[in-house]
Symmetry: C2
Subunit: 328 residues, 2 copies
C-alpha cells in the first residue's frame, strides 16, 4: 500500500482506473470541478457492468493542487486537448515518479514530459466504459492497457512494469512492452481514420465505413486512410502488430458514435491535432506524404473554425444567396 | 421574333434568361410548380439590379408539358440533380432544335442529349442573380455565358452562334466558342474545390480558403484540389484559360455561401456528383489519379447518407457513449 497514485481527469477511463487502483494503492483523483471532487469524497466511485467489477471504491479526491501530496505515479486520462491545463497545476507532484498518458492519439507524452520533468509512459487502451454520473461508471469492454517507455525521457522498463503490475493488481488488464509504439500507432491510425470520417460525414462507425462496392463508397476512403497511416508508421520504422483495416471492419458493425462525432455535435474542440494532425505532422517529419490525413485534418480544423466565424467584409454576400448564385 | 425558346427551370439564372430573352423571342418558362407558372403568367418577371436591366418581361409560362409547343431552343437552368425529372416530360419538344445546359458542373449534357435527341450546347456562366420571389429577380453580376458544341451530338457551330446571338440581343452577355471545354473545366475545378470544402467545413467562401501560412490552413487544401483538377484537365487534353487559384483568392474575399453549403444546411441533395464526383470519374476514365477530389466526393456522399441513416444493429451503441469510450 506504499504506492501513491494520482489519476488526472475522471471521465469514464479515469474513473475506472481510480476505482480499481484504490483497492490496492493510495489513490487521489485530481479533477477540475470541486463538486466532482466532493461527490467522490462523499460517495466513492461505484463500478458495475462486469462480474468481478461490481464494487464501490473510496479514492481521495480534490480539485485543489495544494491538497495533493507528491505521488509515485500519475495517470493522465483527460481529453488530449485538455492536457496542458490539467497537468500544469500538479506538474511538480511527479518529479520523482512516472506519469502515464492513457489518452488518445499522439503528442500528449511530449506535453506531459515538458511540464512534469517526470519519466513518461506511453499507454494505449481499448478498455471502454460509460460514465453515468460523477460517481458511477460501467466497464463495457475489459481490454488491456499496453504500456511502454516514452523514449525521450529514457523511462526505465522497470518503472513501466511496476505501473502495469499495479493496474493488474487493481483488477484490470495491463501489459508492459519494451516498445509500445506499434500498439499506439495501430490505435492511432484506426482512431484517426474512423474519427475523421465520422466527424466530417456525421455518420457513426457504421457499415458504410467498410463498404467498397460502388465508386462512391466510404470504405474506399477508410482503406486509403489506413494504408496511408501504415505507410507513415513504416517510414518511422514502426511495424504494426494489428490489421487496422480488419479493426475497422469489426467496428463498422457496431454503429458506435466515435468521440469526435460527439465533439462535433456539441461544438467542442476535437482531438484532431492528436489524431489525423499527428499523422500529418509525423509524415512531414519523416519526409513522406500523407495527403488524405492532411486534407481531413485541415477540413476538421476548418469545421471547428466555422463555429466562431464572422464575416470579415461589410458587404458580405452571406444573405439570401447561395442557391441563387450560379457563380459557385 | 420567329424563334421559340423554352427555359426549363426558373430559379435566379432561369428567370434572368427568360425575362431578357422574352424581349426578343417567344419565350416559354417551363416550371415545376403550377402556382409559379400562374404567377409568371399574371405578373410577368421583374428584373432589377443594374442599369439597363430594370424592366418587366412577359414570357409565357406553364407547368404542363401538353401546353408547350415545339421549340427551336431550350435552356436548362435547373439544379444538375434535377435534370432528368425536369427534361423528361418535355424531351420531345426539342427534337429539331438545340438545348443548352446552363447548369453547374459536368454531366448534364449527357443526360439532356439522351432524353431529347437534340443538338446539345455546353454553357458556362458566371452570371449571378438573386431570386426574391417567383416573379422578381435581381441581376447581381452581369458576366458572359460561354457556349460551345457538345461534341457527342455534333452540334453545328452555327447553332451555337445563333443561341449566343439571341442571348446578346436579349441584353445579356454571351460568347460562342468552338471549344467550350476549357471554360467549363475552369469553372468546374473552381466550383468543385470551393463547394466541397465549404460543404464539409460549413464555412462560406472566406479568407481561410486562401490562407497558406500555417500547416493547418485550408488554403493548402484548396491549392492542392485546384492543382489536382488542373492535372485531370491536362490529362484530357484541355488547356485551362484561367488561373483557377487566383479565382479562388478573389472569391475568398466575398464571404459568399456556395450553393452546396445552402444544400447541406437544408439537407437537400447536393450537386457533388456533377462537381467533385465528375472530376473523380473523369480522372478514372483518363487513367490519372485524383485522390483529394475523390476523398471529398465520398465524404459528401456520406454526409448526405447521414441524414437518413438508421442503426442496422439492434444492440447499437449509439446511446450515451461517444465521449465515454476510449476505444475510438
Amino acid at each position: 500500500m506504499s504506492q501513491r497514485v494520482c489519476i488526472i481527469g475522471c471521465g469514464s477511463i479515469g474513473s475506472l482506473y481510480a476505482a480499481h487502483l484504490a483497492r490496492v494503492a493510495e489513490v487521489w483523483a485530481f479533477v477540475r470541478r470541486p463538486e466532482h471532487a466532493r461527490a467522490i469524497a462523499e460517495h466513492g466511485i461505484r463500478v458495475s457492468g462486469k462480474p468481478g467489477h461490481e464494487f464501490v471504491a473510496r479514492p481521495r479526491a480534490t480539485s485543489d493542487p495544494a491538497e495533493l501530496p507528491a505521488c509515485h505515479l500519475g495517470i493522465v486520462c483527460t481529453k488530449a486537448t485538455q492536457t496542458p491545463e490539467a497537468v500544469r497545476p500538479v506538474a511538480r507532484h511527479f518529479h520523482e515518479g512516472a506519469v502515464v498518458s492513457a489518452q488518445n492519439g499522439l503528442g500528449c507524452e511530449e506535453i506531459i514530459a515538458e511540464f512534469t520533468g517526470a519519466r513518461v509512459i506511453r499507454a494505449t487502451t481499448f478498455m471502454s466504459g460509460t460514465r453515468h454520473s460523477d460517481t458511477h461508471v460501467t466497464l463495457d469492454l475489459d481490454a488491456p492497457t499496453w504500456m511502454g517507455p516514452f523514449e525521450p525521457t529514457a523511462t526505465p522498463f522497470e518503472m513501466v512494469e511496476r505501473a502495469a503490475r499495479l493496474i493488474v493488481n487493481g483488477g484490470l488488464k495491463a501489459e508492459a512492452l519494451r516498445d509500445a509504439r506499434p500498439t499506439q500507432w495501430a490505435k492511432l491510425i484506426f482512431n484517426a481514420s474512423v474519427n475523421s470520417v465520422s466527424a466530417l460525414t456525421e455518420l457513426p462507425h457504421c457499415a458504410a465505413f467498410a463498404a467498397e462496392r460502388e465508386f462512391a463508397d466510404l470504405g474506399h476512403l477508410l482503406h486509403a486512410l489506413i494504408d496511408e497511416g501504415c505507410g507513415v508508421a513504416r517510414a518511422l520504422g514502426i511495424e504494426l502488430p494489428e490489421d487496422v483495416w480488419e479493426m475497422n471492419c469489426i467496428g463498422a458493425r457496431t454503429d458506435h458514435p466515435p468521440s469526435m462525432l460527439y465533439d462535433i455535435r456539441h461544438r467542442l474542440p476535437t482531438e484532431v491535432d492528436f489524431l489525423g494532425g499527428a499523422i500529418a505532422r509525423e509524415a512531414a517529419r519523416a519526409g513522406v506524404s500523407a495527403p488524405l490525413h492532411t486534407a481531413l485534418y485541415r477540413l476538421i480544423k476548418g469545421k471547428e473554425a466555422s463555429w466562431t466565424w464572422t464575416p470579415a467584409t461589410k458587404h458580405s454576400a452571406a444573405g439570401p444567396g447561395g442557391a441563387g448564385n450560379a457563380g459557385e
